[in-house]
């Protein structure tokens, strides 16, 4: 394979992974604060539909993305409210919302199925696009893809390099300690969950307005679950999560490639491969036996520990702030 083709392939992997990256970053932010938004598979679907529907009717992409983000934020706010104010199980509410959002997207998306609609225009960044290799990889896309890059870096910088980010880690790890130090744990959780949710909405809109244009029933089905497991695989770190998303995108395009080489292998094998990978990846990062295996020597142990992450200490729990 010549370098030019390789570059094009890599660039398209970076671009097509944008929805997954948004979803992974959004979910990572929420879970860092201690709130699991399990509704991803449904809320991405609903925001993809709403994003496309708004773009189709108004022909305004800004409005479309805004509406999709609003949908994601609303669903997240509902989960935050039920968890923080009503002290309900986040998993239960999230799962019900997954199914409800899926059906809502089918019900209201009916008139928009397979309609041609607007898409995000290509926008290479002048000067930067001419840098060899880097230009083709990172600066020859559209605004949405650039924003996905920005989201990764901004989330990482905010969580690990700023004062409020430190507090964010605190409310997810030890809410009682954070509260004792004067942080309004529940207010912060609310805000971060909503920010995460709007990124999830962004994921939906970028899917239907860029990666796979238009709307059809269950268009993004499965994407949310993949995103949720990549958050675990990435150890709740935005950069590692993003790498997970890109590896996944790479595997997918490799699957398309392999399918063209081995036409005798049924397509179902390739369509299911992501979910088999998902299970294997989760096994790798959460299994004790593998942990013990790598703990044999101090060096391998060090490397392994840097690869695997631990969930925020108070993930999916409610905090009584009294």
């Amino acid at each position: 394979m010549d370098t030019h083709l390789l570059l094009i392939t890599l660039a398209s992997i970076l671009a097509d992974s944008a929805p997954l990256v948004f979803a992974v970053i959004g979910e990572t932010i929420g879970e860092k604060a201690g709130v699991t938004n399990l509704s991803l598979d449904g809320s991405i679907l609903l925001s993809a539909m709403v994003g496309f529907a708004v773009a189709y009717t108004t022909n305004n992409l800004y409005l479309a993305f805004l509406a999709a983000m609003l949908v994601g934020a609303l669903v997240a706010a509902l989960i935050a409210f039920s968890s923080i104010v009503l002290r309900l199980d986040q998993i239960a509410v999230g799962f019900v919302l997954t199914l409800l959002c899926t059906d809502l997207s089918t019900f209201f998306g009916n008139p928009f199925v397979r309609q041609p609609g607007p898409s995000v225009p290509h926008l290479a960044i002048p000067i930067l696009e001419n840098i060899p290799i880097i230009g083709a990889l990172f600066f020859d896309h559209n605004v949405v893809v650039y924003l996905s890059f920005v989201a990764i870096l901004a989330a990482w910088w905010w969580i690990y390099k700023t004062q409020p980010g430190l507090k964010l880690q605190g409310i997810g790890e030890r809410p009682a300690a954070a509260f004792a130090r004067g942080t309004n744990v529940n207010l912060q959780r609310f805000l971060y969950t909503i920010v995460g949710g709007s990124l999830v909405g962004m994921a939906g809109a970028s899917y239907s307005l860029f990666v796979k244009l238009g709307w059809s029933y269950h268009a993004t089905s499965g994407l949310g679950w993949i995103a949720l497991s990549i958050v675990i695989f990435g150890g709740w770190n935005p950069i590692r999560g993003a790498i997970g998303a890109y590896i996944f995108g790479g595997l997918q395009s490799f699957g398309d490639f392999a399918q063209s080489i081995f036409p005798s292998v049924p397509t179902q094998v390739f369509q299911t491969a992501p979910f088999a990978f998902m299970i294997i990846a989760l096994l790798l990062v959460s299994n004790d036996a593998i942990d013990r295996f790598f703990s044999g020597s101090p060096v391998s142990r060090k490397i392994w520990q840097s690869l695997r992450g631990t969930p925020p200490g108070a993930l999916s729990t409610t905090f009584e702030q009294e």
């Binding site: 199914l99 809410p175 049924p266 959460s286 409610t318």
Partner: protein
């Protein structure tokens, strides 16, 4: 006492009425006539005796799935993999129906056993991933759902394809001896109804009146404490998975030899996920399950008629079910909070209450 009754009634019925209002608004929003829509749903579900029989044929697998889920929920497990367990049950049943040529009286029990085995094995896989692999059952189960569906598709267009044409519509029909017998004029028969009801009764008593049920409940409330008081948690969790898989597998058997008489790609009918909603809405209580499952079956069955009658998308049924469950769960939270506020000293925890991090733990 009577005041209590009325409060309970308002809290119980209020969210359902609100759910109906919201669904009505959704219908108005897409320009449909809500009254016509509900009329069409009612006729689709209860229009005549034959339709009522079809409705019961929806109710049976949904009830079986929900009964299985009662077990895993009691153990505190989110067995989302139940979809795949239904599918595996159907696949095993289909395999046995194709392989064995026995008279009905031997074949049908054998097919049920095959389905139970398929469901149990697939559930055990999710259980092993959870207990030994530390993969959360939601993700393990979900991945296995997609894999099970892919296996179905592969079988349908591959080894079990219709003679001549490869089509995704399904396999050949099973031999008539494998079909569940039906009541005259109906699509539903006595065997599957009996199986479902017996399953419900068995699970009700097993969870309520046995030491096994009590230990399972202990695991569900607090796995670590249960382990400390000597409950073999891993074995019990695996058992809960396998048993849930047995009932899910039976649901798959009914789908294969009672409903479709062949293997089709969407053989599970979505009854696994719907069963989770049923159990949530029943407040994890076995007694509520058959009624909620009946209501959900009627909504699902009724909404199938909508696209034909009125050109309304049949997902309306799912919207109605989802909204009602969401509102009921939320209203329980609101009620618990309201009670907490009125009786500040006593913290009333509902069954849905999330684990609470307290300062004392730090």
């Amino acid at each position: 006492m009577t005041k209590n009754f009325w409060t309970n009634l308002v809290w119980g019925v209020g969210p359902i009425i609100l759910g109906l209002i919201l669904t009505t608004l959704a219908l108005v929003a897409v320009g449909a006539n809500p009254l016509q829509a509900y009329q069409s749903m009612w006729n689709g579900a209860f229009g005549n005796t034959a339709k009522f029989g079809d409705l019961i044929l929806v109710w049976v697998p949904l009830l079986l799935a929900s009964v299985g889920l009662l077990i895993t929920f009691t153990a505190g497990l989110w067995n989302i993999g139940i979809e795949g367990q239904i599918v595996m049950g159907a696949i095993f049943t289909a395999w046995a129906a194709r392989a064995f040529d026995f008279p009905s009286i031997i074949l049908i029990p054998l097919l049920f056993l095959a389905g139970m085995l398929g469901g149990a094995l697939w559930a055990l896989l999710a259980g092993v991933l959870k207990t030994y692999g530390k993969v959360h059952e939601i993700f393990g189960g979900l991945g296995l759902n997609f894999i099970a569906t892919a296996v179905t598709l592969y079988l349908i267009i591959g080894p079990w394809k219709l003679p001549g044409i490869a089509s995704t519509s399904g396999t050949e029909s099973f031999r008539p001896a494998a079909w569940l017998p039906t009541l005259p004029g109906l699509s539903v028969g006595p065997i599957e109804i009996t199986v479902a009801l017996v399953s419900l009764v068995l699970v009700y008593f097993a969870l309520r009146g046995t030491l096994w049920g009590l230990k399972l409940k202990a695991i569900g409330k607090n796995t670590r404490s249960a382990f400390w008081i000597g409950v073999p948690t891993t074995r019990y969790m695996l058992g809960a998975f396998a048993l849930c898989g047995v009932f899910a597998g039976m649901a798959g058997t009914v789908q294969a030899i009672g409903v479709w008489h062949r293997l089709i790609p969407s053989i599970s009918g979505g009854y696994g996920y719907l069963g989770i909603l049923v159990v949530l809405l029943s407040g994890f209580q076995a007694l509520g399950v058959p009624f909620v499952a009946f209501f959900f079956s009627a909504v699902s069955k009724g909404s199938v008629a909508l696209p034909l009658d009125l050109n309304i998308d049949s997902s309306l049924g799912g919207v109605l079910q989802g909204i009602i469950v969401l509102l009921v769960v939320l209203s329980q939270g609101v009620r618990a909070r309201w009670q907490r506020a009125s009786a500040a000293a006593r913290v009333d925890s509902t069954i849905l209450a999330a684990p609470v991090t307290r300062a004392a733990e730090e």
